[in-house]
Amino acid sequence: MISKLEINETNQMIGREKLDVRTITMGISLLDCIDSDKDRLLKNVYEKIMRLAGNLVKTGDDIANEFGIPVVNKRISITPAALIGGPALKTPEDFVDLARTLDLAARDTGVNFIGGYSAVVSKGMTEADKNLILSIPEAMAVTENVCASVNVGSTKTGIDMDAVFQMGQAVKRTAERTADRDCIGCAKLVVLCNAPDDNPFMAGAFHGVTEGDAVINVGVSGPGVVKTALQEVHGQDFEVLCETVKRTAFKVTRVGQLVAHEAAKRLNVPFGIVDLSLAPTPAVGDSVAEILEEMGLESVGAPGTTLALALLNDQVKKGGVMASSYVGGLSGAFIPVSEDHGMIEAVEKGLLTIEKLEAMTCVCSVGLDMIAIPGDASEDTIAGIIADEAAIGMINQKTTAVRVIPAIGKKVGEHLHFGGLLGDAPVMAVNMASCREFVRRGGRVPAPIHSFKN
């Protein structure tokens, strides 16, 4: 039988160290909703989402109550919208109507985000992809709970530089279009390279074409649990450090596995994957930066940060892989700036720069995430930032992403306030030397060679 010690340990993780299941995300294929008539398409989409996910929120809440583990978010990811919209949606305005329908479905199911207002254009763009990309600023402005993502490159295809430039424009225009709301549109928009098909986390979640009709993916969290475990072994050598992270990640992931299986069973939808992620929140004690600092850094951003993050990421995967039957998604440590008070403090003290964050993205699970940049950064500069991240992803065979928020009318040192899980973003300095000619060349960057690795 379970001992009192074990019960206390688990409940302390939940109560004091903020262990939670960050999201139960239902992936829904909308391929069977395709129609050449716009009204029928929108009706099909709404009805299928309501039919499959109508009970998602209640099921998540029931599981949370029965096991005593918070399930913070219940979400939906759909087939990339550009794939299903093509036959019926012929203009960007048509696509905005699809975004409105998705927003309505999000509201009526009670989920907090629906992801998959997306295009996968790692090699080239169809007319539908182009229309979707053009529609993003308006779609992000007129909807509350829809997340957009565009995959602009992959290790197998190279990088579509036309798409990179267009996404630089889309990010800038989305910020301008939502400038009255602290540019919130850009917090729901991410540009990816090597995007996984089964990611449960926003803003990059979509239900890829390799997936079945519907699936349950679960994202776990627990930076506070890892930090507390590391406090117990303060000052000990790297073997102990790594083992401690690994063991803790195992325990955290087991909870995700339990919740994923329960949700799949109750919703009668197959279990997909558990995403082993350390996702911070703005709350004190729920921070990835605090873990790195507990390892012995005065501040995140100090020399040593990249290794600290690399070993954290690697040990989380090693511990988590054994704890779950299927692992997928992004799986690693997230380093969003606005959602992690430790990151925000380091930026405010001048100890964490966008260049250091870029280096950190080489070894973490995603990329430049939730970073406010000066409002006068041009679409070319944003495209250059996207291109650099895509290069890191393409060459290193990993997922990378850019979710930057141009703070329209604001300068370095000022803040954007989003509230909730999205937090508070200090505007960070960006190198403003021009990359205009480079990012506007157009065309594709060929796929990289897989030999001569140096």
Binding site: M1, I2, K4, E6, I7, N8, E9, T10, N11, D62, N65, E66, F67, G68, I69, K251, R254, V255, Q257, L258
Partner: protein
């Protein structure tokens, strides 16, 4: 529904165990293990119970115990055992 972990925490007072156990007995729930400590007037109890023959759903049981706790001035939470099994047993 079978094994459930019931946790009771709060300021110590007369009759906490009695009232919780009475409630459990009324609903045909068998207590398998009780562990209780008092630290500086602070009452902390963990019970492992078998609710296999319980006459209520989990939600009703949970709400019922919460209500008992509110009457005594302590916090009572119920969790299915699987979360602990998953985390601590391979």
């Amino acid at each position: 529904m079978s094994r459930i972990i019931i946790t009771v925490v709060g300021k110590d007072t007369v009759g906490i165990i009695a009232r919780v156990c009475t409630f459990l007995a009324e609903h045909n729930i068998n207590i398998l293990d009780i562990s209780q400590t008092i630290l500086q007037d602070f009452f902390n109890m963990i019970m492992i119970v078998d609710a296999g023959k319980c006459d209520m759903t989990f939600a009703e049981l949970s709400a019922g115990l919460k209500n008992v706790g509110e009457n005594i001035g302590v916090t009572i939470t119920c969790q299915k055992e699987e979360i602990f099994e998953m985390m601590h047993r391979i």
